[in-house]
């Protein structure tokens, strides 16, 4: 069964249609890459999944349960949205680390705040906080940043900051991890280290959606690829098929421009 089902999502900002009739599915353990030129709606789609934008139409289901239905306001209650967005993790193009916290604090902050809502928090406070701390350290270690735990974001390179941001998203154990052009703000030099981390997550069967301009990376790492243009899904299918043998004319044009560069 698909872990994520998106049906007929539509989003407009005023008269501008940004997303139209977006439907796709994602199976557990799969990586989905969304490609397309700037302004094609990729980022908006990701933001809809994370409840940063509210679609005007359509439904979003996780593990068969409808978590968002544009026609049903009861699925959009502020208090519940907060819990529901935890199904998704989000890694932003501009990292958005919290500057006043160290790398480790960035990773553990949300877990510590959420732990306060646990019923056994008062009795087991010290143990819970120690567990969170230990997990945060383990995550940074996985990102190759064990020695950077006490550094503040401005003391880290862009690539390191983005890896901290990935650890921060993973700390809440999301069902689906979303990346919004995770390497677009990085030098080519630093891009590699971030892609390597994402690749290893894919190898560990993390369910992911990656909006990216790195075609070779999408082809190698993703199981599925969606090509978007003008707010609609033009083509979707297995990664190598879509990127190496696109069927649609618009996909061919888009990819050939990449091949030229």
């Amino acid at each position: 069964m698909a872990i994520l089902e998106v049906h007929n999502i539509e989003k407009h900002f005023g008269p501008t249609r940004v997303l139209e009739d977006i439907s796709f599915e994602l199976k557990r353990g799969q990586a989905l890459a969304i490609i397309g030129s700037s302004g094609s709606g990729k980022t908006t789609l990701l933001r809809c999944l994370n409840f940063l934008e509210t679609p005007n139409k359509g439904t979003i289901s996780v593990e068969g349960k409808v978590i968002f239905d544009a026609a049903d306001p009861s699925t959009q209650k502020e208090s519940e949205v907060r819990k529901k967005r935890l199904h998704f993790g989000m890694v932003f193009q501009s990292f958005n680390l919290f500057p006043q916290y160290t790398a480790l604090e960035n990773v553990t902050l949300a877990s510590k705040l959420l732990a306060k809502e646990r019923e056994d928090y008062k009795q087991n406070k010290n143990r819970i906080l120690m567990e969170i701390e230990a997990e945060g350290k383990a995550l940074l270690d996985r990102m190759g940043l064990a020695d950077r735990a006490d550094h503040y974001p401005h003391q880290l390179s862009g690539g390191q900051q983005q890896r901290v941001a990935i650890a921060r998203a993973l700390a809440l154990h999301p069902d689906i991890l979303c990346f919004d052009e995770p390497t677009s703000a990085l030098d080519p030099e630093l891009t590699g280290e971030v892609l390597k981390v994402i690749r290893s997550l894919a190898d560990q069967k993390t369910t992911m959606i990656i909006v990216t301009h790195e075609m070779a990376f999408a082809r190698d790492v993703a199981d599925q690829v969606i090509f978007m243009d003008g707010g609609v899904i033009v083509e979707q299918g297995p990664a190598q098929q879509v990127i190496d043998h696109p069927v649609q004319e618009r996909t061919k044009q888009f990819l050939s421009r990449y091949a030229e560069n």
Partner: protein, 216 residues
């Protein structure tokens, strides 16, 4: 000379009192005004913005005069019974309102300067609105408003001498009494009082800024 110095010190206490009272009330009131001006209820937002425009657009000295005299005039001429202010409280009310308006603009600038991504990062991590404010944006906001607040607070030190317009016997008014007796140096020496006070504040703000230097 000792006598003159003692009397100048005594008068400077009024400046200090006005300074601290203004800070104590204007800092929180500025926050209220700031939130009011950002209210989603547009009529309220416009009302408050107009109020801030009037207060920032007219001299503080005039406001001190108005707050002190207008309640009394209304009472005498129209029988409207609203509480009148004493010399000190009249000045204090005008100062608090005036500075709260300036502070509200500083807060607004600070809030607007925090990148939207900070809020969004908090949201996707399942934080509540208040958690985002207290745990994520507040420290960044404080860091950003410290320099302009320091500036404004230094201006406040010197503005306190405007209270003399309604006969508060602050330091310049006191020194002026000696001038009228032909003694000019007490008036000149008042500058030292302000310099020392502002010097201490400058050191304090420098210290706070350094304390918050650990992040950017």
């Amino acid at each position: 000379m000792d006598v003159i110095f003692a009397r100048l010190c005594e008068a400077f206490v009024i400046n200090c009192e006005l300074f601290f009272v203004t800070l104590l009330f204007a800092i929180p009131l500025g926050l209220v005004i700031c939130f009011g001006a950002r209210s989603k209820f547009k009529p309220l937002a416009w009302l408050i913005k107009t109020f801030v425009w009037v207060i920032r657009g007219t001299p503080l000295m005039l406001q001190v005069i108005i707050f002190f005299f207008v309640p009394g005039l209304l009472k005498v001429n129209y029988g409207i019974n609203i509480p009148t202010f004493g010399r000190f409280s009249g000045a204090a009310v005008a100062f608090v309102i005036n500075y709260a308006c300036y502070f509200s603009e500083i807060y607004r600038g600070g809030i607007d300067s925090i990148p939207k991504g900070q809020y969004e990062a908090g949201e996707v991590l399942g934080m509540t609105k208040s958690q985002i404010f207290f745990k994520v944006t507040l420290m960044q906001l404080i860091k950003r408003i410290i320099p302009p607040m320091g500036n404004e607070i230094i201006t406040l030190v010197k503005d306190t001498s405007l209270a003399r317009i309604i006969s508060n016997k602050e330091i310049i008014m006191m020194a002026n009494e000696y001038t009228s007796k032909g003694l000019i140096w007490p008036l000149f020496s008042t500058g030292l009082f302000f310099l020392v006070f502002v010097g201490a504040l400058t050191l304090l703000f420098g210290y706070i800024e350094r304390k918050m230097d650990y992040f950017r």
